[in-house]
Symmetry: C3
């Protein structure tokens, strides 16, 4: 049992924030070469609001490079006292994010799988535990051709706005690919939509249309596509009207137990991922899936 109590106001980030920062994930990231053009970061110094625009063609898949750049960009903003909130959106009109990059999970070394999974964990730990206000402006389908990652990014924000296009969909579709979402995807999902909706949606690997996603609470609001960015800015302004410290400590109180659980089981979770992904049956089915995607494209 945790006892957050009346948390004292303080300028230090809460403990789990510090833990995330000291984690080996980022050290690895800092040491390895990485691209620096998969995400466009713009900071409006007047409002203190940054926008991170995903621009990794063709489908903003969450590759190791993408995730590394995401973590480093987010950390820079987190440490910048002039930045109080971040809006996440896509610079590619047809897709928000297609999900975890399947090529990172196929035909690679154990070390590569470990590095990739650590980056996925790191991304979630930093985003779900961010001290900044985080708003997802889902301006296109979170077209989860790949294991759902765009949906996880959105679920980890403080608020989710989606373009009200009935053709757009979003969800955690792992089960449809024959794989299983990790427990912390599940915890994050349950915290947003509740146990029953999560149980059904995860078992079916459901991709929810925008109206359905709104109805089940997966997104907070639907707006016409052309008003999405304005709405995101308005929501951000509403959240930034609150004193930062009280809001941050409240957020930590709500999310700490779920964050702590991954922090406590991080290496175990990586080993689980590796022993799962290296099974021949899984490798085979991922290869077949990649073939199918390639054929679709051509």
């Amino acid at each position: 049992l945790r006892s957050p109590g009346v948390l004292p106001l303080c300028s230090r980030p809460p403990a789990w924030g510090r833990a995330a920062r000291q984690s080996p994930g980022l050290l690895l990231a800092q040491r390895r070469a990485f691209s620096n053009n998969k995400i466009l970061v713009e900071l409006d110094e007047g409002s203190g609001v940054a926008t991170m625009k995903f621009k990794s063609p063709p489908v903003n898949s969450l590759s190791l490079d993408f995730l590394t750049e995401f973590c480093i960009s987010l950390e820079k903003l987190e440490n910048n006292r002039g930045c109080r909130g971040v809006i996440f959106t896509s610079a590619i009109p047809t897709v928000f994010s297609s999900g975890l990059d399947i090529t990172e999970m196929c035909g690679k070394s154990m070390e590569h799988y470990a590095e990739f999974w650590r980056a996925v964990q790191e991304t979630w730990l930093r985003l779900y535990g961010s001290n900044m206000v985080t708003v997802a402006a889902v301006n296109a389908s979170s077209l989860e051709l790949l294991p759902a990652g765009g949906c996880l990014l959105a679920l980890s924000c403080d608020y989710r706005i989606m373009a009200e296009n009935p053709k757009f969909s979003i969800g955690l579709n792992e089960a449809q690919l024959g794989i299983v979402a990790p427990f912390w995807f599940k915890d994050t999902f349950v915290n947003v939509v509740g146990h029953r909706v999560a149980e059904r949606s995860l078992q079916l690997g459901s991709l929810h249309s925008a109206p359905e996603a709104h109805r089940i609470g997966l997104v907070d609001e639907l707006v016409p596509e052309e008003k999405l960015q304005d709405k995101a800015a308005a929501v951000m302004a509403q959240w930034l009207a609150l004193p930062d410290h009280a809001r941050q400590l409240t957020k930590s109180m709500m999310r700490k137990s779920v964050l702590d659980r991954l922090v406590a089981h991080r290496e175990e979770d990586i080993q689980n991922f590796i022993s799962f992904i290296t099974k021949e049956s899984i490798q085979k089915s991922l290869r077949m899936y990649m073939e199918m995607l390639k054929k679709k494209k051509s």
Copy 2:
């Protein structure tokens, strides 16, 4: 804290499933004579879908015999690789199930109470933890004259469809009979309808009409009576379209903590039941309730 992690795909049932299978409940059940005609089991080998039809007149009450037959039938299907899903429904047009058989709780020996309660536990452990897709087709009132059992069976399935007859009702009515639902009935209910609805409904022992049951999420869908079986088959087909392993592991991830809790406290729960049910005040009130039911019938 549990860490299911990315669960490896495997052909073995998850740990809690194996535990249930090794439990003394079934051993007892296997050794005692039991009727074999309270449930009609039909397996469609083409689709891999079985139907279990309750046919224990007059009101499908959950007697020790009924529960024993239920567990053995379910185990046979679970171990049959040709069976991937089960639909539960009633062969008696007027009632789905009237609930736990009150005669098993009244004027019997301590040994009998223990055996009965173990069978109730076993039924829930097997059904809530089943690797198969489970759909409740509630084609009549879950007419809980008796402590709610029909509702528990439905709550333990993956999906609940109910005939949209406003006269039909369903709920966990224990409090109305002066008794208390065990913690695992409560956990199962909370996982479906959330904490607030469960708190209110359990305290009032509410029987919800079909429309209300749908509104609070106790059932997933209402359909006209004549379309109920077709709808159940369609839902089953939708769920069976998913790869079994991924779906099973996802289900286990969602339900494991609640199942583990009863497994860890099973004997204690039986002792609690016995010391409760053998109180003279409770025995007296159950006898009076049975008298009242007999008078109603005649």
Copy 3:
């Protein structure tokens, strides 16, 4: 993990009820002088229903005196076998309760802060854990000029009815004042509205209009102001139709883990409150807030 099991019916209050009764909070309260006119208590011996009417002008703020009187009044009713339920309402037409009295948190001694916070805890432990049926008849705005307390009282009841005046509002507004709700306010809130709504509402310190409070489940029902008391009596009659013991044990099963958590961390929670409230930055901001309220009033 707890195992409430099938809880035996008994005439003794459940363990957490007894613990609350033996707690030092009440001993302190019994020893100190306290006003006895901030709450009007009326008991209808025919129905067994008491009404506690808050009448502490100007705004029913939850001062140490108010909370002490609340606890003692509630304990008297709890120990009176003729009383089975309590309705909470305001005798001041313009306000249900304005919240925790900010003057108790500003410029006082450490001992005073400890005594005040212990009284806030005691109030919640007794009300959330009451064996009686508790109904909040929110007949005016829970005008949380002060850190939300009226809302906590309502959240701790079994049922909440609110006058359907769109000008009335209710919520846990701590974040707006730059402070953080303690974990047990949060737990109580999550148990009523679920994790997602609580996370958003607590981070924004939202005051919800009556219709919105109803929509998110913060209140169970809206009724015209002139029908509020009749409705409260009707709801009370419905709940009192249930056998007391079964209802009480069910209530305890639903609330015990959250109550136990504060009981186990009570002194730590008081120390957290003191170290938080005695920070110069917080004292300064509370003083400024009081000045602002005074100016508004004049």
